[in-house]
């Protein structure tokens, strides 16, 4: 499972990454979280609002800083 957090580096993207790490720890998942900060790359996913969460190249959320619980639900759905 490859998880990406999309965001140009503002505080929200950092928060999303931290929350994702927490969620993964709780689920016991060991996976790579890649932070994508380049605008071009972010836009190539079709994302207009950051931060966004991408699981295995599928955009599962955008424009929101998800809480760890919500991320856990998404991770389950997309296993």
């Amino acid at each position: 499972m490859i998880i990406k957090v999309l965001g140009p580096g503002c505080k929200n993207c950092v928060s999303l990454k931290e929350n994702t790490e927490k969620a993964m720890k709780e689920m016991g998942i060991e996976a790579e979280i890649i932070k994508v900060e380049d605008m071009k790359d972010i836009a190539s996913y079709g994302v207009m609002r950051t931060p966004a969460l991408v699981i295995d190249e599928k955009v599962v959320s955008y424009g929101k800083v998800l809480k760890p619980n919500d991320i856990i639900k998404l991770l389950e759905k997309n296993k």
């Binding site: 972010i42 836009a43 079709g46 994302v47 207009m48």
Partner: protein, 334 residues
């Protein structure tokens, strides 16, 4: 009408707050507000609190409304139209769509990839920072509704005209190629519940205040200094109504600057009190919000030089023209 006027005075101009702070300064600090020090302190505290209260209430309410207009929806709505109506709608939607300036590039790319005409995207991008629901109400609070409405109308006109001119100039090939041909994101974000919207609005209030409070302090500080320390003669020498160059100076100072519109309001307020023309002040405010060095640097990533400079030139020229017009007709508003 009387009720409206009272509401206006208490809720927007916060006369009660003015009086309260006056009492604070006069009775507790022992300073007269008609004197320099007392006047500045009074202005500083009153304006600061007023802006903060208005800001919080406004941002919350408006974010709630804006939660119904995410950029993704705007993209869908605009994708179905063409020509001038699309530009006009783009300008209107730019006003109500929430986004921070860090999103302007992804939004630009998103809209353009979806096939929206360049001019429409620009109308949206110009009106977005310029005309803001919350700042309209703040303008009405600081000046009056006539001025606020005038600002909105010219702001939207500027956005629509600039966008239309850009379409006519057919500068599509001056967009960086990677912008085209991105896939459009069509995942359905679940409909927000009322609780989601309230949560969103609260977050927006926290976020925006965190981002903006420094500019407000600086703006109120400068406003206070202008109000009471910088001699009126100096201000009118540089920015006076009768000086032909005042609009140009306001433009040169405002355009490269970056500040949130809420920070410019106390400065605008103080300048008007010192007899600076309404047009000069509007030019300054529009220059600060519509264009800035940081945003131009970001746009440089997606626009080739010719388009970038056309955009900057058009908006600057528009802002300056608006300044001259409003200096001439300003007496009708203030």
């Amino acid at each position: 009408m009387v009720v409206f006027s009272w509401l206006n005075r208490q809720l927007l101009k916060m006369e009660w707050l003015f009086e309260l702070i006056r009492l604070l300064v006069e009775k507790i600090f022992g300073l007269s507000i008609d004197e320099r020090l007392g006047g500045s302190i009074h202005f500083f505290i009153y304006d600061f609190i007023k802006i903060f209260i208005l800001l919080s209430v406004l941002i919350f309410t408006i974010s709630y409304i804006q939660s119904y207009f995410p950029p993704e929806r705007t993209k869908k709505i605009l994708g179905r139209l063409n020509g001038l109506p699309a530009n006009i709608l783009g300008a209107f939607l730019g006003t109500v769509t929430p986004f921070c300036s860090c999103s302007s590039i992804p939004i630009f790319i998103g809209f353009t990839s979806a096939g929206l005409p360049l001019g429409v995207t620009f109308s949206f991008l110009i009106s977005s920072p310029l005309v803001d629901l919350a700042s309209i109400i703040l303008l009405a609070s600081i000046f009056n509704w006539k001025t606020a409405i005038a600002y909105v109308v010219v702001g939207l006109l500027l956005a629509v005209v600039s966008g239309t001119v850009i379409s006519k100039l057919k500068l599509e090939k001056h967009v960086e190629p990677y912008v085209y041909g991105n896939k459009s994101l069509d995942i359905e974000q679940e409909e927000m519940t009322i609780r989601d919207r309230v949560e969103f609005s609260k977050e927006q209030v926290k976020d925006i205040i965190k981002r903006v409070w420094k500019y407000i302090i600086i703006g109120v500080g400068i406003g206070a200094a202008i109000h009471n320390y910088i001699p009126e003669l100096l201000i009118t020498a540089v920015l006076g109504q009768d000086k032909w160059y005042s609009v140009l100076i306001a433009a040169f100072v405002g355009i490269p600057m970056y500040a949130d519109i809420f920070g410019t309001l106390p400065i605008a307020e103080a300048l008007i009190a010192k007899n600076v023309g309404l047009g000069t002040v509007l030019t300054f405010m529009m220059g600060v919000t519509a264009l800035s060095l940081p945003s131009m640097i970001m746009l440089k990533q997606v626009l080739k030089p010719r388009l970038l400079w056309t955009f900057i030139g058009l908006v600057s020229a528009g802002i300056i023209i608006i300044g001259y017009i409003f200096n001439a007709i300003g007496y009708m508003f203030i």
